[in-house]
């Protein structure tokens, strides 16, 4: 039982990353009917930007210019990186996807793939092959809850993820931009006729998705400090699968599916040898998709950005 709960905690953390990244996929898909294959690499970029920002803030603090307690550095890092990475997303959209707005979707998908490769290679070119390590901003404190060991980091990661998902939910539900996004999901062509600036809304969608991916990247850096230019590939594709599993365009579905994927991987690793983890997780997913092709909350083409 204890082992189960312990793994549950790990699964929640693992699932948080998938959920945050899957949200970005889902949002873009619901509006543009397009999977942004560069999204996983934006997660990677966000992580590295977080690294850069946090190092800069630490340097700033150490020069005595400003007194910055570690927790403040962390908060600032998250906020600033989310902000900066959202620009990366917007640029990707402007350069890669906007010219292909009317092209077959496969071509746009390929473009996304290529942009992802450029991001990875760019990282390698700029920083070389050496791995960078995310600075430790939180002293690890472990709590013993009846035999189950939970670190403060894990709690923070899960909480922050849920918070962000909730914030997104509220944004889409309550603000006028969110309303515009939902309208675009229903009927793309009509929205500009209603006076909504189409390009700006699309840019906003990419910005939000990228910001969430950046958050995931920083949280990931906190949990697993060693960064890698190819970290986006592994996470990106799996989160992509989670987005589909959740039903394309469903924000709640993507979140749920992200956590489900996390659970599946952790619990599979608990039972089977770890090398079989991917194999079994993917097979389960394949099975689910064969039986229920539209995912949990998805529907063929009608309702899209549903909550």
């Amino acid at each position: 039982m204890i082992v189960f709960l312990q793994n549950l905690v790990n699964a929640l953390q693992w699932g948080s990353f998938y959920a945050l990244i899957a949200l970005g996929y889902s949002m873009v898909y619901s509006i543009l009917m397009l999977f942004n294959f560069a999204h996983g690499d934006i997660f990677m970029v966000g992580s590295y930007i977080g690294f850069g920002v946090s190092m800069a803030l630490i340097a700033l603090a150490s020069w005595g210019a400003v007194a910055l307690p570690n927790w403040l550095i962390l908060v600032l890092t998250i906020l600033i990186s989310m902000f900066l990475t959202s620009f990366v997303g917007v640029i990707v959209e402007r350069v890669g996807y906007r010219p292909l707005r009317n092209a077959p979707r496969a071509s746009a998908a390929i473009t996304g793939l290529m942009i992802g490769i450029i991001l990875e290679t760019g990282n390698l070119a700029l920083l070389g092959a050496r791995r960078v390590s995310f600075p430790s901003l939180i002293a690890t404190a472990t709590y013993d809850l009846g035999g189950v060991f939970v670190t403060n980091k894990k709690i923070m990661i899960v909480l922050v993820s849920l918070l962000l998902a909730l914030a997104l939910h509220q944004f889409v539900r309550r603000t006028k931009w969110g309303m515009a996004m939902r309208a675009m999901a229903f009927d793309f062509a009509v929205v500009p006729l209603m006076g909504v600036p189409l390009n700006r809304m699309i840019a906003l969608t990419f910005a939000l998705g990228s910001a969430l991916a950046a958050a995931a990247g920083i949280l990931f850096g906190i949990a697993y400090p060693v960064l890698d230019p190819y970290m986006g590939i592994l996470f990106g594709w799996k989160a992509f699968v989670a987005a589909i599993l959740g039903g394309r365009g469903s924000v709640m579905g993507a979140t749920l599916a992200g956590f489900l994927l996390g659970f599946t991987e952790i619990f599979v690793a608990m039972i089977f040898p770890s090398t079989l983890r991917d194999l079994i997780a993917y097979s389960i997913i394949l099975l689910i998709l064969t039986v229920r092709p539209h995912g949990f909350f998805g529907e063929p083409y009608s309702a899209r950005l549903r909550l």
Partner: protein, 421 residues
């Protein structure tokens, strides 16, 4: 004035171009080294001088001079001089059965490649890998272009073919600690190699059922995911199979995938796929792609069509995989992951969907570009993706999409202007 120079070249039949090329590569073989030294290069540039130009930009004029002296001028002159006899021979061949005409042209093409590659092992390797790339690209085009799916399972098909063929050849013919002593004498090997490849192709086809059958109910994005999952599953499966040494990979393949072998398989692949897509049964792939409901209403068995496309495409991917393993004489699961997927997708979409010409162009371009840009190391992976993005923006379906390859047309003699040409 420029028109005067180009006009005679519009009358050159394929045979004429081949003749010109043959003259050029023969010249290089016979006198390449001294000519290279003459223009200031240390030795014959292996891949049209790209690596020399990139490593030492000051040599660019020397390389260009070399290319002009050895390739461009001799080929141009020989082609120009040989127009009439070429047309004559082409016409004579054209009267014979198509199989004979085609065989002669292919033999000539092979001669060109053989002579060109004779200079260095590197060239032979590049050529073989490029031919394999052609097979991969064309077989993927059958599924993604002709039938319009977005299938990510091709690396998985390659892997199945590669490992199956490798297990058979290594297990039966090589005395490895892995499978025990060799069971069959190596002399038998060359004859059973095609069988091993074909078996690999068939295994890949069986694997394709896992993607083809779901394609009955789902299309588009969902099928993409299923095919992606398939790819990951195959890779993971191999990594977990101690029998084939898991992630460490297999090596020690017998050296049977030489240039003539790879060339022959490529020709077979292009020929059979071209036959298929030009037949009405093959065009059914297009009908299913463009409107499945209408195809159903017009007596097309859509399930059979989908299965055929996936199995046929997978078969050739499997064969290409088997050849790849034997060219590199080493294979590991890492060869068949996302990187491979990105490369093969790039080749198909760059070259052009739904087009045999497109696949050949795409495969050759990206392969050669990949090799030529090697000195740039990782920047290669910025230039190639950038190139592809540009093509996607300006020609979303690829450079040469939806173009039929009519063999008869290709081999026809070109009559003088004023008549039909």
């Amino acid at each position: 004035m420029a028109g005067e120079i180009w006009k005679p070249y519009s009358r050159v039949p394929l045979l004429g171009w081949f003749f010109g090329a043959l003259v050029a590569v023969t010249l290089e073989r016979l006198a390449g080294a001294p000519i290279a030294r003459f223009v200031g290069l240390q030795k014959i540039p292996v891949l049209f001088g790209f690596s020399d130009m990139l490593k030492t930009p000051v040599l660019v004029p020397n390389v260009i001079l070399y290319l002009l002296i050895v390739y461009v001028v001799p080929a141009a002159v020989a082609t120009r001089l040989g127009v009439s006899p070429a047309n004559g021979i082409a016409a004579a061949l054209y009267r014979l059965p198509m199989a004979v005409t085609a065989a002669v042209h292919l033999a000539l093409l092979y001669a060109i490649l053989h002579v060109w590659a004779g200079i260095s092992d590197y060239r032979v390797l590049v050529l073989r890998l490029t031919l394999i790339a052609v097979m991969l690209t064309l077989s993927l085009n059958v599924i993604n272009g002709y039938m319009g799916e977005f299938s990510c399972s091709h690396p998985g098909f390659m892997a199945l073919g590669a490992y199956c063929a490798s297990v058979l050849t290594i297990g039966l013919f090589v005395d490895a600690q892995l499978f025990g002593a060799a069971s069959l004498p190596p002399a038998l090997g060359r004859f059973l190699f095609p069988l091993a490849l074909i078996l690999g192709g068939l295994v890949a086809s069986v694997g394709a059922l896992f993607v083809a059958i779901p394609s009955f109910r789902t299309r588009g994005d969902y099928l993409a995911i299923i095919s992606l999952a398939f790819m990951f599953i195959v890779k993971s499966l191999i990594e977990n199979l101690e029998f084939v040494r898991g992630p460490r990979g297999l090596s020690g393949h017998p050296d049977w995938a030489d240039l003539p072998t790879v060339f022959l398989w490529t020709v077979l692949c292009v020929w059979s796929i071209n036959n298929f897509v030009r037949s009405t049964i093959g065009k059914a792939l297009n009908a299913v792609r463009d409107n499945e409901m209408a195809a159903d209403a017009m007596t097309v068995d859509t399930r059979k069509t989908k299965i055929a496309a996936f199995l046929f495409g997978a078969f050739w991917a499997g064969i290409a995989g088997g050849l790849f393993a034997h060219v590199m004489r080493y294979v590991n699961p890492g060869n068949f992951g996302i990187q491979n997927l990105a490369e093969v997708l790039a080749m198909v979409y760059f070259g052009g969907l739904n087009s045999v010409y497109g696949s050949i162009v795409g495969a050759v371009s990206i392969s050669l570009l990949g090799e030529a840009l090697r000195p740039l190391e990782i920047f290669k992976w910025i230039i190639i993706p950038l190139l592809l993005i540009l093509v996607m923006i300006f020609r979303p379906t690829g450079l040469i999409a939806f173009r039929d390859l009519d063999v008869a047309n290709l081999l026809k003699p070109k009559t003088k202007p004023g008549g039909e040409g």
